[in-house]
Symmetry: D2
Subunit: 348 residues, 4 copies
């Protein structure tokens, strides 16, 4: 059994990790830390874990964490970078669900996260944990930076188009919407049920931190001679708990010679266990992936015009965070990539 540690387990990505790992056939959680809740049984905070998880939160402790084979960071940005050097020095491998090591340009990171990066020397070593893009590098990585939720949904939607240089990369539009768990479990007036239920709005229209991350990975997908991907990204807040929906718009570079997009997408993801290209004409629903690690995608070309539309859905806590983290763990340790993740989404 792989020994697992979790840093910062009180948030939603923490409890989602526990839900998935509690039934993982080859891993078990040995340590889960939280400064604020140290000493409290995990199942006091999350009653769904009663009878499944017997752990209590402990103070973060590098020595204890270092005894684990792998440590997940389910912390806000700015935490992982401070513990990372000491932790990696123990020989444990790390999967960071936060934004700390996702962006290779530390100046860009500093600009968007409004603080100097605390551990720039390890940034270049970190592997961006989108398996469909970086599976080989993930296998041997010491430090995997798990993609954000919006980036995961958007990057998988656009990958076949950019990889094949079929669309104008400089005017991509990603119109995305997220369930409220995307904002975490902090006490904020703006996230009360009374403020956001039965309503809908955009937010961060002038600039969201996931933008530079999205663009970086999209550029990694492009052929060397393409113009660099540029994105207009508008996120929206859905009056619901889980789920991300991305509606992506891209203009065909050569509409007359465009290949069959349905076939292109199906082929591109033919061997991927966690990407489901739906039949032509489908509209993926977020509920079809609730609690599952699958990303469902469909592609169309409305009115046969030159704008291509790709729809994609994920569960922001599973494929958009903790499920993808477990998928990365499976890859890093040579396990079946679907171990612990072979779950049917909860529908209805």
């Amino acid at each position: 059994m792989i020994k697992v540690g979790i840093v910062g387990g009180t948030g939603y990505t923490g409890v989602e990790l526990l839900r998935l790992l509690a039934k993982h056939p080859q891993a078990e959680v040995n340590v889960i830390t939280s400064r604020a809740e140290a000493g409290i049984p995990v199942s006091d905070l999350y009653p769904n874990l009663r009878g499944h998880v017997d752990l209590a939160f402990t103070e973060p402790d590098v020595e204890l964490l270092g005894k684990c084979d792998v440590v997940f960071f389910a912390t806000p940005h700015g935490v992982a970078q401070n513990l990372m050097p000491a932790l990696l020095a123990t020989g444990t491998r790390v999967i960071d669900l936060s934004a700390d090591f996702r962006i290779r340009d530390t100046d860009l990171w500093a600009h968007w996260y409004d603080q100097t990066h605390g551990c720039p020397e390890l940034v270049s070593e970190a592997v961006y944990g989108l398996p469909e893009l970086n599976r080989e590098a993930i296998k041997s990585a010491r430090l995997v930076a798990c993609p954000g939720c919006y980036p995961t949904a958007a990057q998988l939607a656009l990958m076949p188009l950019l990889h094949n240089a079929l669309v104008d990369p400089e005017h991509l539009i990603i119109n995305a919407a997220s369930g409220a768990t995307g904002a975490g479990r902090q006490a904020k007036v703006g996230m009360l049920l009374t403020e956001i239920s039965d309503s809908f709005k955009a937010y961060g229209a002038s600039g969201h931190r996931h933008l530079p991350e999205i663009e970086q990975a999209l550029r990694d997908m492009q052929p060397a001679d393409s113009a660099k991907a540029q994105v207009t990204f508008i996120p929206h807040l859905l009056p619901m708990v889980r789920g991300i929906h991305a509606t992506c718009y891209a203009r065909a570079l050569a509409p007359e010679t465009l290949p069959d997009l349905q076939a292109l997408f199906e082929q591109h993801y033919a061997d991927e266990p966690f990407v489901d290209v739906m039949p032509a004409g489908s509209h993926p629903e977020t509920r079809s992936v609730k609690g599952s690690n699958v990303c469902r995608i469909s592609v169309c070309q409305p009115q046969g015009r030159d704008t291509i539309v790709v729809l994609s859905v994920i569960d922001n806590l599973t494929r958009g965070a903790s499920g993808q983290a477990v998928q990365n763990m499976n890859i890093m340790f040579g396990l079946d990539e679907t171990a612990g993740l072979d779950v049917v989404a909860l529908l209805p």
Copy 2:
């Protein structure tokens, strides 16, 4: 008092008309028809009307309706066109909330609505009831075709840009989302709470009936020498009752010489009682217009790139249907345009 008749009052636009007209200072509903519910008190179907509306549904009857000063059609498409010649012949004026008279090209109408138009001779007379576009023509119209809900939100969002020819009109993108009342009150499995609550999806991606209507009015807003507006329109279904949110994307034709967009929008709508241009940086919420006739709009230019984003919200049943219909009635009868519509949105 203006005598009002309503045809097809059992749906959501019918009950919304009743809610607004019950408190209108210069109008009163005399007749409300429904074949299926004839004889039933309106308040049996809609208990919120108990104590406010004493009418019962009656069989549709042109003679009775003809005694009204104005008749609203709150029917599915295909109904109004059949009664229209006889009804207009009585001298009554008509406000049609359905799609029957919105599109001037009856072949285009037939294509999208999958039936031959039953009254093509009156189509050219009908005035498209978007007050901000056609106020003068509405004043004297015998027949007003009220805009659809998505078109209202999208057209008001894009009007200042197209009117001033500031953006590429051939690649407009309208990404919109609607509460479930947009689908009416028919018993359909796909609209059960159990199917659409706590979930989100696109629909009609390959073509929605509001597309030709949107494009027609956008073209009416353009200077004569502009290339004709063309739209990629993707509607989505929100897990909530009321509200439409449109996120519109347009590429600036001359980014370097673009005027101050905030000022442009504020000026364009300065005299409009039912358009609220919000301060720069705002994200309008659908709940801020719940039950109100106002459309709230904000505009921005993310990262200073050449893609302009306009956000707009309306209540699909009020500004997107019955409220706008009452606004048109006020204009047609020379009343204060806000009569009966001076309502504060219900928030929270």
Copy 3:
């Protein structure tokens, strides 16, 4: 015009007062205070008020408030009691929406609210503002203590039974459920959409602060020789914004000689503008009173057994707080009791 002041206008009862008073024909809000938001326009916090309310929040100031004809307290408990003596001394009349003056026994108050009462000398003067119970006393009151939301729904449901001494008063059961606005607008993890959406639970089962208030008013309704009303009260939290539903159970004292309950209820409330006894067999829905001051009630006797069930619904922010407060103002100032409150509930 009656000059109105509002203390503590940033919460949900504050914005609901503003929504109602903005359209009141005989009252206008002159002052609205908030220590935290002083200087901020009200409509910045609540965009639904844009175009309807031009006020900005000011620091609380007894002199300024004293120039108003009436002051509403929309504050948490513990605030009104401190300002009350000075404020009443200015001659202004006060309507307190908080719990400070609802309970006549200040020891009981201190027990449930966990603090000593700061103004016991005025408690006996305060009139409990349930118009159906205390209309005469309200007319001349200087200080009206508005009922809580649960108490309003439960007391109106049980009043005809207790007034006529038809049921065992010592084993009343009130099973009630509230929308999340009942908890106010504080930033609490437990009220995040992500914690309470798509879920349901009881809370405060071992004792809720509304219990002593409920029992006090129920006892006021009883004939002098009845055993004192005792209630088991279990509140529940609904995954929605507005609305309270009370399901009340009472055992008939003399099942064989029970009068016709439907007739009894209809008669009891025949002259009440804001109580709607629905037809036999009805199940009142909370949405049928959304934004309205009406309480809808139905009564039944399942299986003809000796347990009577009364169902009642109110909007917790309107009839359960700010609407009832305006109703009390209308009574105090000799206005039509429905002034400013003649609103159709927003349905759907």
Copy 4:
């Protein structure tokens, strides 16, 4: 592997059976029937099953079903009774999720279900499938009648009290609330999101079909000399998808000598894998059992008065239907009772 057939697999209990059985280590679904959807792949109807279930619906066929080891009926009432004699004659065992064989008194059944029972001769053989009550009889049963959703939640809540004759059995009150999946997947206006979202109401107050079923099983729990259990049962409709919450009220027969209720409940359910007695003072949330087979219960005695309150939650589709059906299958076939059901509830 146990060969499983499912009759009527298009409803929510059908898809829930498929979700659970798809991952059951010792059972596999061989046949799933639906007259309306014959020939259609199951995953076309329920996209969450894509990649997990390859079956298509077939016409119901006794011969084919007879080759299964066990057949589940996930049909509306009235269907199972007609196929039952022929099906049992093939030697297969049957687990009926419908109401057909739950009530032993066929006259009572006929009264509540408004039709004559089509197979009275098998009613007495059927075992009521509440494992905590009838585990031994289930082991060898040919025909198990799975309890309804409300009955499951209510019976588990009241069992320790009735079994020990601690409360007045003739005046039990069960105030329960259900998510909308309890009403199935039929196209009904009354179950549209637009009709029931953001609202709450009671229904069936004058009599619900689960009442006789609840009373029958409660009586089975009582000592022989107790007065027969009688229940006032008021169900309510929650604006959410899954979950049942029962709030049960019972009056202590001898308040002074009442044992420690917390200890009593914990002891009563000490060996039950799917009943979780929560710590004193808990309020079970429906979300804590979403997708899980567990029933969580808490008990209290508000204000130390003689009314005992028991709160219980289940997922109506899992423990209230398909999960309990699988639990019964496990018992019937001598498997580990938790096989295929060892799932962590999806929270948040």
